[in-house]
């Protein structure tokens, strides 16, 4: 029986491999590297010795059960955890070779370079225009013409321009949920990031809006490195190039990266049994 199973596994591995041989993505170098990253909230150790490389200009999905530290991990990538009292980080997170946790690292610049989109769309209670212009203006862009240009270009990149060009001066809160989320993406794009972090960006959106955002991500990865946390495994399977599976062994223990690999492999033939149990729904 084992023999049969082994032969079947070998066959499906050969199938996955045969496809990969034809369309193997060039191994991109990492944009960000997590090196022995550990994080605690006060006494509670949330992440332990995370080793991960985020490939440049690809979409990396982080999947795993609730409460395993996915969002905490994401927030380490642009030091959003800094604002949480009692939060301590050890180890390194390197962006293009520089450790972002070095004392003296420009955190403001970091949060522009590594932008974030949140689960619940959170446009500013301002006009559509102001939402996008806010960041560049803060960064020193004063010329009206230039600002107009940045706003238009960012909204175009976020696939939102056609829908809002006639109501730029209208309130952002009047847009639909999906439009608001794309506005938040435009807001991130306006300050010229290199990395975009997305924390469950579609979980508050309906299926049609979700698809539009996913289509947008597929376009954006030509220029930006993206990391998306999602509890929707199908989304991770559809959208990402690489997938990291994070989980905790037992309640109260810190999260760890169980497996990381090309999404093709993870969803057709994961290496770790725990990954397979999770993605096939045998978890818990």
């Amino acid at each position: 029986m084992d023999d049969q199973r082994e032969r079947i596994t070998e066959y499906t591995r050969k199938c996955a491999d045969s496809f990969l041989q034809e369309t193997r993505m060039e191994e991109p170098g990492p944009r960000m590297t997590l090196d022995n990253l550990s994080m605690s909230y006060g006494d509670f150790r949330a992440l332990e010795d995370i080793m991960l490389e985020i490939p440049r200009e690809r979409i990396t999905a982080i999947i795993g059960p609730s409460g395993c530290g996915k969002s905490s991990l994401l927030r380490c990538l642009n030091r959003m955890n800094d604002i949480i009292p009692g939060c301590r980080v050890t180890g390194e997170v390197r962006l293009d070779g520089e450790n972002i946790y070095d004392p003296g690292y420009d955190v403001i610049r970091l949060r522009r370079t590594v932008g974030m989109v949140f689960q619940k769309p959170n446009p500013f209670p301002k006009t559509v225009y102001e939402n996008v212009a806010y960041g560049p203006r803060l960064a020193g862009v004063k010329d009206k013409g230039e600002l107009n240009g940045v706003v238009e270009e960012s909204l175009k990149k976020a696939a939102l321009w056609e829908e809002v060009k006639g109501k730029l001066l209208g309130p952002a809160m009047n847009l639909s949920g999906g439009q608001q989320q794309r506005l938040c993406i435009a807001r991130v794009l306006a300050v010229e990031p290199e990395v975009i972090l997305l924390d469950e960006p579609c979980s508050a959106l309906d299926p049609v809006a979700t698809q539009r955002v996913e289509d947008l991500l597929a376009e954006l990865k030509e220029r930006y490195t993206m990391v998306i946390v999602t509890h929707n495994m199908q989304q991770a399977a559809r959208v990402s190039d690489f997938t990291a599976f994070v989980m905790i062994e037992n309640q109260g223990e810190p999260g760890e990266v169980v497996e990381f690999g090309e999404t093709n492999h993870i969803f057709t033939n994961p290496a770790d049994e725990r990954t397979e149990r999770y993605i096939t729904g045998r978890f818990g």
């Binding site: 045969s18 496809f19 289509d215 199908q234 559809r238 959208v239 093709n264 969803f267």
Partner: protein
């Protein structure tokens, strides 16, 4: 619509790959027919050696099909299409395997003269088996669910000729046992080829209508 378009593009590519495989299989059938008619041992050998090419199609189609199922979680017509494409590729592979079997059976036929009766009836059987496969592939290409019935009718002819080989020829032939065995085996292999064609027709019907044949 980039992400979903990529999926449908990949689905189209899978569909085309199956048609390419079907072309390759039909070509092998024609070559086997000619090889048998002429008792051409070289042609038979080349058919045996070329089987890896057909197997390669199955590996690629399975690989791509599984990947699409895993990553896109398709439903409805997309799901049926992918599953049926993978099934049809196996039917075609087995049809091609039977051509290899026929070619191998020819190994010990060298030196024998095929009687006009054998040559005519086997060629007739080849003709019908190929017609069934071509009909089945066309049904897939045109997404025609109704071809399945016609293929079953054509299969009756193949079965009839096969029975004649099994009974009339086997019983009454004065040919040497070695040749008789090879000829009867060949008829059997062709009957299998026709069966695979009929199966493809049924699978196409399921793909299009979502209903299994009775």
């Amino acid at each position: 619509m980039k992400a979903r378009k990529d999926f449908h593009q990949q689905l189209d590519e899978l569909y085309l790959e199956l048609l390419r495989m079907a072309n390759a299989t039909m070509e092998v059938l024609e070559r086997t027919r000619a090889a048998f008619r002429d008792v051409d041992m070289e042609a038979a050998q080349s058919i045996i050696e070329g089987d890896d090419e057909i197997d390669g199609y199955v590996t690629r189609i399975d690989g791509e099909g599984i990947k699409l199922l895993a990553r896109q979680a398709p439903v409805a017509i997309d799901l049926r299409t992918i599953v049926i494409i993978m099934r049809i590729s196996q039917e075609l592979e087995r049809a091609a395997d039977n051509c290899v079997n026929i070619s191998k059976a020819m190994e010990n036929m060298q030196g024998y003269a095929l009687s006009p009766w054998i040559r005519e009836n086997m060629d007739e059987m080849f003709r019908w088996a190929i017609k069934i496969i071509v009909g089945a592939v066309n049904a897939f290409k045109e997404r025609d669910p109704d071809m399945a019935e016609e293929l079953t009718r054509m299969d009756d002819t193949v079965d009839r000729i096969n029975r004649e080989f099994l009974t009339t020829y086997d019983r009454e032939s004065e040919d040497e046992t070695e040749l008789v065995v090879r000829v009867v085996m060949t008829a059997r292999f062709l009957e299998r080829v026709a069966d695979h064609g009929v199966n493809i027709g049924k699978e196409v019907r399921y793909m299009v209508t979502g209903e299994f044949a009775d």
